[in-house]
């Protein structure tokens, strides 16, 4: 067995029993991540990417979720670990930045209080010490006049400032694994760039492993070392950022690339629209979950709706879950897709 990575997720399944049936939000996900590296998890809403992140943090524990598989963090298995043990790791060893900082921060407490609280959960220090730390953190994430702003309430911050504060809170305990769930979705484009820059800088500074979860490939383009594309609770393509951006092999990834917003293009204009809507996680389409929306489903020789395609390695760790042969996929990319994407 190969030496374990810092984060090693093996065959993770997170299922929720509901009155309507079993919701397989995450269905056999495997990936690994090293310190100082960044993994982007990309997918539409409902693809299971947020559930995955909460699963790693252990936030589904004690609820109705059925969790199986393994999550190894720095040599410790978390799925089988006690709830209390995982709680002790949360915030300290692994932390999370949430999507909408306005709703993710408590409206009744000052930003400073919330950072102080986060720090003091894991550090037995006085309030004054924690407060000083909070001011430091706010300064480090680029909030001007941090010693004054520390007493502001979240609603008194602008969107970008709020997200910086959120980051400050997540980083307050120096986590080794940082998960950012759609960290920039709620922000406008210029602020997005600033926040992404900040995160990259901080990651380097803290040497933490970073998982960025997003529906937008553009966000992960610059930051990520590796990218995992999720669809219907499964990984459908995995590879280095270069693999995904320059040699994508899955039709769904192509679709994602085609719908990336760019500054030079109207946001509504999509080159390669993905028709249809994300699959229901209760009644996952038989065979390849993507086949009802796949423009190439007929090329699979009837396997599309009968057989679940396996996740197979094409080359150098680039994994794809598709019935088409690698040659066929590459041909399509080179001849049909890439030219379209490059028209501008």
């Amino acid at each position: 067995m190969s030496p374990q990575s810092f984060l090693d997720v093996k065959d993770l399944k997170i299922h929720f029993p509901t009155d309507d049936g079993l919701v397989k939000s995450v269905d056999g996900l495997t990936f690994r991540l090293e310190r100082g590296k960044t993994l982007g998890i990309v997918g539409e809403s409902g693809s299971g990417k947020s559930v995955t992140s909460l699963g790693i943090l252990g936030l589904h524990k004690g609820g109705s979720a059925r969790i199986s598989g393994e999550i190894w963090l720095d040599g410790e298995e978390l799925v089988s670990a006690s709830q209390e043990h995982v709680r002790g790791l949360r915030g300290k060893k692994m932390a999370m930045i949430f999507q909408d900082p306005l709703s993710a921060m408590h409206p009744y407490y000052t930003v400073g209080d919330q950072i102080i609280e986060a720090y003091r959960i894991h550090h037995d220090v006085s309030k004054a010490v924690a407060r000083k730390h909070a001011v430091d953190m706010l300064g480090r994430v680029g909030i001007p006049e941090p010693s004054r702003r520390v007493d502001s309430y979240p609603h008194e911050f602008s969107g970008g400032m709020r997200q910086r504060a959120m980051i400050a809170m997540a980083l307050s305990c120096d986590p080794e694994l940082l998960i950012a769930d759609e960290p920039t979705t709620a922000l406008d484009v210029t602020v997005q760039a600033q926040i992404l820059d900040l995160m990259r800088d901080l990651q380097r500074e803290f040497d933490s492993a970073l998982i960025i979860i997003t529906h937008d490939l553009g966000v992960v383009a610059e930051l990520s070392d590796d990218i995992l594309v999720m669809y219907g609770g499964k990984c459908i393509e995995y590879g280095s950022a270069d693999d995904i951006f320059y040699r994508p092999e899955h039709p769904y990834t192509w679709g994602l690339l085609g719908s990336m917003p760019r500054l030079d293009r109207e946001p509504t204009e999509r080159l390669l629209p993905i028709k249809g809507s994300p699959p229901s996680l209760i009644n996952v389409p038989p065979g390849c979950a993507f086949h009802p929306r796949c423009p190439y489903a007929e090329r699979t020789g009837g396997k599309a709706d009968t057989e679940v395609p396996a996740l197979t390695e094409t080359e150098g760790g680039h994994l794809v879950r598709c019935h088409m042969s690698p040659a066929e996929r590459r041909a399509l990319w080179e001849n049909e897709i890439k030219p379209v994407l490059e028209t501008q």
Partner: protein, 339 residues
């Protein structure tokens, strides 16, 4: 903030003026419109064998012969500047705020009200403590154990609590826990010792009324808290708190309950304000001579100055409670700005 309070206080005075006018109109103007004469109105306040002459004297003494506006003016003047009262053998100064003298007992109303207030306050405060602790506690537990047997049982009891009338629960509890029954542990009706005399006996006497009253309110608060908690515990900031590694107990109390309590503070303020105006049914059932019983007795006896006085006082409490709730709201929820 300061101007806000001043403005609200001025509003409160205006509101009281309107309440007093409305009350005055109900008891003095409406009967006149229905054909009552000063004498026929006064005849309620004289003995059973009173002659028309006595009724006339009474009408004169009570000032019923004056135009209504003069009567009302006299009433307002008494509140602002005090009044003189002729008690036969001499004249007594009734200092402001003079809410007049009872038509029947001939006692000044204001000292009466102040005398009754501690009883009602004792009742309201004690019951409020119980119902808030109980109601919120059960509501939180119910929300966290949603769908369990505890939740269902608690909500059924809560429904009963909201639906059962006080006089029913009061009589039932007196019947079971008092009146010399084998498992009687509670004081009998009408038992009241002031807090200063003996805090223990004070609580002993009020325990059953507290529980009765608290049962009614606790039920509503439990339902309210449960709904509020279910809503807040789904908020993003609760997930954030958990992601920080906060222990669940603190997540619930510091983050969940804090937010869920905000609407409860509003309701509590209004409930409490109303209650200090008189817990009519509870006080009647337990023979506690608080403001509520005072009001009921006053209405039964058509003792108008008492009715006016207790109405105004109750209105004042409701208005104050409203103001305090609004101020408290700004303290609790920093997003609220008073202007």
């Amino acid at each position: 903030m300061f101007t806000y309070i001043i403005r609200r206080l001025i509003g409160a005075v205006l509101m009281l003026a309107i309440v007093s006018m409305a009350t005055f109109a109900i008891f003095f103007l409406v009967p006149r419109l229905a054909g009552a004469t000063p004498e026929s109105m006064a005849s309620r306040y004289v003995g059973r064998t009173a002659t028309e002459e006595t009724a006339k004297l009474a009408a004169e003494r009570l000032g019923f012969n004056d135009p209504l506006i003069v009567q009302y003016g006299r009433y307002v003047k008494g509140i602002v500047a005090g009044a003189d009262y002729d008690y036969g053998a001499g004249v007594e100064q009734c200092p402001a705020p003079c809410l007049g003298y009872s038509f029947i007992t001939r006692q000044p109303v204001f000292p009466d009200l102040m005398d009754r207030l501690p009883i009602t306050l004792s009742l309201a405060i004690g019951a409020a403590v119980i119902w808030v602790l109980l109601g919120v506690g059960i509501g939180v537990l119910s929300a966290l154990r949603r769908g369990t047997l505890f939740d269902r049982a608690a909500m059924v009891i809560a429904l009963a609590g909201v639906s059962l009338p006080i006089f029913f629960t009061a009589l039932l509890s007196l019947q079971f826990f008092s009146y010399g029954n084998p498992f009687a542990w509670a004081a009998q009706g009408g038992y009241y010792v002031t807090f200063n005399d003996s805090p223990v006996l004070w609580a002993y006497g009020l325990l059953l009324p507290w529980i009765t009253l608290a049962f009614l309110f606790a039920a509503g608060y439990a339902r309210l808290t449960r709904a509020g908690m279910l809503e807040t515990m789904n908020e993003d900031y609760i997930r954030t708190a958990r992601a920080k590694g906060l222990v669940e107990r603190k997540v619930i109390t510091k983050h969940g309950l804090r937010a869920a309590l905000t609407p409860i503070i509003t309701i509590f303020g209004l409930d409490f304000g109303l209650l200090i105006g008189g817990a009519v049914l509870t006080e009647s059932a337990y023979s506690l001579n608080g403001l509520g019983k005072y009001a009921i007795d006053a209405i039964t006896n058509q003792d108008l100055p008492k009715v006016m006085g207790v109405t105004l006082l109750a209105a004042l409490f409701v208005i104050l409670a409203n103001l305090i709730v609004d101020l408290l709201y700004a303290v609790v929820d920093p997003r609220v700005r008073l202007s």
